[in-house]
Symmetry: C2
Subunit: 296 residues, 2 copies
């Protein structure tokens, strides 16, 4: 039986080690660094970097080769949370059981810490390969994948849609397309980057894309379900907020039971995409199941 908890812990040790290296001899404003680290080390699930490392492993690569891409993905995810939590956006005071960045520091610092994490992600990616030739081409491609997924054609577009659609009744199709941008794009990029660094073939990349799309959506459906029936203490944030903000969610459109069934079906699709992979894809399989069974 594959021990996902242990796997995640081991990966987190590697990720934290890489972050320590990134922040070593770091010349910047103390408060700014503190705010960046505060959000980066707030005990998130680290889903994106673990997926990136897991994808490299699944296609037979050394996950350590993808560690800087993993860190960059987590920095970008963290910046997006910091900015999403701002008063002008979702106005959230609590995240992962701790005050959000603009509460722990102040709004200006939170805006700048987010900007700084986003920029640092690209600095780290640009420095990940100092060797020439093909490696440089590969890292340029990784920067392109991540920037496109995180930018206004991907994640930021999704956040924008999320904001403007507050209070609107969305169809399931509209909801899905919003989430495929807001969370799906960066999750897909995480798997693609891991696969690319590990020299996956075109067919493997296609299968990992299918896996990514299904778990990405399942992740969001589960988030919606947890917002209805999750335990706020376990989740470290308030529940019931979607209903308060009159947000279109899977439970609000499909109902709770149908949403759970939908999430299960997505996970089956994801596992099916991995059928041709050997046991090195065990972490990705376990992560898919974890995504719908998690309590936070």
């Amino acid at each position: 039986m594959f021990d996902l908890q242990f796997y995640i812990e081991q990966k987190n040790l590697q990720i934290n080690e890489a972050f320590e290296k990134i922040f070593q001899n770091f010349q910047s404003n103390e408060t700014l660094i503190e705010a960046m680290k505060y959000s980066l080390m707030a005990g998130g699930k680290r889903l994106r970097p673990v997926l990136c490392l897991g994808a490299a492993e699944a296609v037979g690569g050394n996950p350590q080769d993808a560690i800087m891409a993993a860190c960059a993905l987590e920095m970008i995810h963290t910046y997006s949370l910091i900015h999403d939590d701002l008063p002008a956006m979702d106005d959230d005071g609590l995240r992962r059981g701790k005050p959000t960045c603009h509460i722990a520091f102040d709004e200006a610092t939170a805006i700048l810490a987010g900007d700084a994490l986003l920029t640092l992600a690209f600095e780290v990616l640009s420095a990940a390969s100092t060797e020439g030739g093909d490696l440089a081409v590969k890292w340029l491609k990784i920067i392109q994948i991540i920037a496109t997924a995180a930018g206004c054609k991907g994640m930021i577009q999704g956040q924008m849609l999320d904001i403007v659609s507050e209070g609107c009744k969305l169809s399931v199709g509209e909801l899905e397309s919003m989430h495929s941008l807001k969370t799906g794009a960066l999750i897909e990029a995480s798997l693609l980057c891991g696969a690319l660094i590990a020299e996956a073939g075109a067919h493997q990349k296609q299968l990992l894309k299918t896996y990514a799309r299904n778990i990405g959506l399942a992740f969001q459906v589960t988030d919606d379900i947890l917002n209805v029936e999750g335990n706020p203490e376990v989740m470290g944030k308030a529940t019931g907020t979607d209903q308060q903000h009159d947000k279109s969610t899977y439970p609000s459109i499909l109902g709770l039971e149908a949403s759970k069934k939908f999430a299960q079906k997505l996970i089956r699709n994801a596992l099916q995409a991995l059928e041709g992979f050997d046991k090195k894809a065990e972490p990705l399989r376990a992560l898919a199941t974890y995504i719908v069974e998690r309590k936070r």
Copy 2:
């Protein structure tokens, strides 16, 4: 006599053409694109991209090779202005004679438009070279230079220092070091990137760095002077704001006349650094003079 106005206009045509290409067939939220373009096309001086192209030219390169770096630099500069203008930061309602982004749209859109411009800059840089080998290595280096200059070791650190030092009496040394981060770092990166793309030698790069540091600081000293005695109508923004916010500036520390002399001395240093360059550096020479003589 070199016609700087004509030169800037020509470069701006090229830059706008490149931006049109960047935004062609652009899939994103309409309002988000509108907000990004609103600030990008608000009639700024385009100093950074013109310096980048001018540096490529000065060392004998083809400025068109640097056009995507030039656009990326302008997008990063524009994002920094959008975020700096936010209520939680400098709370400015007017920029270049037009309502700032969060006034013309709203705060959430302005935050996201800034994030999107920053991310798009790196997407554009990563796609600037689709050829392999040395070119990829060069563009990775350019991404590294720009990310480092724009991030928490450079521009963002400078903005953070600017915020925390509001109401504090700074020494000339502290003021200089803040500005070398807040505006100097990205100006230096602009020249370095142009030089790097045009294959400048180490000595030329060193001289352009000296030029950059001097004009960067002169730019800021002149900004401070204009904030005291500039014409708000010509400048398209309010003056006297530094004094209102009790900001340490060159005029407040050195006095107005000494500040003007200091700016002139910086420009002499900048021109001296270019002495070994031939007439292809004429645009950079004219830009140095323009920086202190400008009225907006």
